[in-house]
């Protein structure tokens, strides 16, 4: 089933997330990032940071739930059980630190069809409490076409 093309270009109300020291540590442990700037506030400050530094891929902790809200909208027409995560990117404007209160705005960058599969790219613009850019993520998901004979 094709996706609702009217979702392309739409954005959704921003969601707020507060980055905490313990969540940064937990994520860093899970990916084996043992640089002390992810774990030890004093080490982070000695390296010139205001607080512990979130690993590069940490923002998925809040950008994916923000995206999922749109993915799961029945009006979009995407069957999550057939979704494959094809591409992911992150562009960093400044490091993300414990104590940051950030807001994520989800935008559907593009919707298209490729060989019968639905391809949708979500962009998440993340800004800090002052409204300054922190980072942007892009995720491209593919909704695989249903095999012949399984069409509803």
């Amino acid at each position: 089933m094709p996706l609702d093309a009217s979702f392309a270009g739409r954005s959704w109300p921003a969601e707020t997330y507060e980055v905490s020291l313990e969540k940064v540590r937990e994520f860093a442990v899970a990916i084996g990032a043992d640089d002390p700037v992810h774990h030890d506030r004093d080490a982070a400050r000695a390296a010139g940071h205001p607080d512990v530094v979130a690993p590069t891929t940490f923002p998925v902790v809040f950008t994916w739930p923000a995206t999922r809200r749109v993915v799961d909208d029945p009006a979009l027409g995407l069957d999550f059980t057939r979704v494959v995560h094809r591409d992911q990117s992150i562009e960093v404007a400044r490091p993300l630190y414990a104590g940051d209160v950030v807001t994520s705005t989800v935008v559907v960058d593009e919707i298209r069809e490729l060989a019968g599969n639905d391809v949708i790219t979500f962009r998440v613009d993340v800004t800090d409490a002052d409204g300054a850019a922190v980072l942007t993520t892009r995720a491209t998901l593919v909704g695989r076409a249903e095999p012949e004979g399984e069409q509803a």
Partner: protein, 140 residues
């Protein structure tokens, strides 16, 4: 000086081998909030046609981004990272886990010292990340 900030275009950087176990996937599921059962439940993974439990693409990307951060010597030096997920990493139910070989090559050095690094990640000889590119700013 880090390995990256000394490197010229064309230079290969120190490779790394990482292993991924089921326990790693459970820890990553909890830390990331991605609780999709295909990453920890063999029954569900097989039911949806996968060969077994597979690693989160974002977990493999996280290991690759951490590798690049270590090469740079500063996690805040990685200012961009992009990749395609080309093949799943199937993680067996044993104590050994799955092995992923990471490699990196400087492909461009900009006038300001920013380096573009092509990253490879292979599992059982086949690429699991495609077109993986990191951008690393010069040391401050």
């Amino acid at each position: 000086m880090s390995a990256v900030s000394d490197a010229s275009a064309g230079d290969q950087l120190e490779p790394r081998t990482v292993t991924i176990t089921r326990a790693d996937l459970v820890a990553y599921a909890g830390a990331s909030g991605d609780l999709n059962p295909i990453h920890w439940n063999e029954r569900v993974a097989l039911e949806v046609g996968l060969p077994g439990v597979i690693a989160h693409g974002m977990f493999t990307m996280s290991l690759a981004a951490r590798y690049v951060a270590d090469l740079a010597g500063d996690p805040t030096a990685v200012v961009a990272f992009s990749t395609r997920f080309t093949r799943p990493v199937v993680v067996p139910d044993d104590d050994t886990g799955a092995t992923v070989e990471l490699g990196a090559k400087v492909t461009d050095v900009a006038d300001d010292g920013t380096r573009t690094v092509g990253v490879t990640a292979t599992h059982e000889g086949k690429g699991v990340l495609g077109k993986a590119v990191a951008t690393i700013r010069p040391p401050r």
